[in-house]
Amino acid sequence: MARRVLITGRGTVNALGGDVAHTLAALAAGRSAIGPVTCREVERLRIRVAAAVSVPDLEAVFPPEMRQMHDRVSLLALLAAREAVAEAGLEAAELSSERTGVVLGTAGGGLETWNDAFRAVYAEGRNRVPPLTVPRLMPNAPASAVAADLGIVGPVLCPSAACASAAQALALGLHFIRSGLCDVVIAGGSEAMLTFAGIKAWEGLRVLSPDGCRPFAADRNGFVLGEGAAVLVLEGEDHARARGARAAVELAGAALRGQGGGDPVRPSAAAAGAVMRAALADAGIDPAGVDHVNAHATGTRQGDAAEAEALARLFGPRIGKLPVAATKGLHGHAIGASAAIEALACLLALEEGVIPPAGSHGVDPALGLDLVTGKARKAEVATCLSSTFAFGGLNAALVFRRVG
């Protein structure tokens, strides 16, 4: 029997709130954090809505030397990790054990730093950039910052897999603990792409909505970029019990799959189904044992349709009665952090029996889904499946289960 992996801490900063409590409250209230973009040269953007982190004020929280050293993507990760570790009650000796690791994903790394450096050398014709440009922009900067902040000497990794970065991090954390490499893994993702060029890049791909994210709605027209960080403390059950840590949910299974070719930015229903099936098999349950699905559901026409098709094939006629959450309608798509932010929504459903709504829109009847929309739904949820389908054809699925 595989070593069971419990979730003993949670932390986040995202558009919905500056910590877990505010995020869960906003999810339960169905409050959308999508609003106007405020980056410089916003007048040159065609897409002017996003879900930005507004609290806390990073300038007030971090001293100048920290802000000098770290890009926004790392500062967000630091706040999320500190909150998760505090909730887990991990002490310095546990953090500095060689058996404690950090796996923190990001798709873009220090995009603001890249943007500023390129602006300096290309647009402004300058011949030098700030000396900390490289350590600020490197994709492993958030993982490194968290590891340094917490005094981690065990394995520290940064999976970068577009929208699946945090899902890969959580899956790797699960396997590190199952395999006995680690007892504790601080895992999740961080993203901060709401810069002029960051939004421009997504604009070019024509996947962003100009007016809001409406997952699975008939009039859905794209996703809305978000930002933020979310971190879970994953811990071997034996280790958690020995130190008296509280845990209500386990990460029961995970799967990572390549799409096997095809269009790198068009999701495949077959591949989506395969990864969800594999995650359930890893958790040792069949589709009939799933009470709730937290969908990837970015709000694009093709992506949502492919996902709905995959869910219908996986669950059969039962899909019409299986509550589906699509919370990117509230917190936007935080790309490499999204799977970890959505894991918090899964925990809300599992721990408090509250499934957050996707927004105030209706559901496309052609999709045949029981989408939770309008307001949160009370439901008894013991097992939750959460899926992520990333550009580049990298898919992931996670299974969360309540523990007694």
Partner: protein, 92 residues
């Protein structure tokens, strides 16, 4: 590098206020600790802080510091002042 004379020991005195302000702003060093004799390492200027200081001096004075290995690195504030004075004078 010649032997230090009294004048060399403090570098260009006119540079001290500038160095004090840059070391305080970019190096996060208390201004009162910035004396000609103070050793840069003892002021808490690790490699990261030192690169910040060099960047700020380059930007403010429109000079270019040599890369590592081209001459001995400055050890004290006076060494730094001497180096800056030389770079401003056009010679290295």
């Amino acid at each position: 590098m010649g032997a230090a004379t009294d004048r060399d020991a403090t570098g260009d005195p006119a540079l001290l206020p500038l160095l004090r302000s840059v070391l305080a702003e970019e190096g996060l060093v208390p201004p009162e600790a910035v004396t000609p004799q103070a050793e840069l390492e003892a002021l808490g200027l690790d490699s990261v802080r030192m690169t910040q200081v060099i960047f700020a001096l380059e930007e403010r004075l429109d000079i270019t510091f040599p890369f590592d290995g081209e001459g001995a690195p400055p050890r004290t504030v006076a060494d730094l002042a001497r180096l800056v004075a030389r770079l401003r004078g056009g010679g290295v």
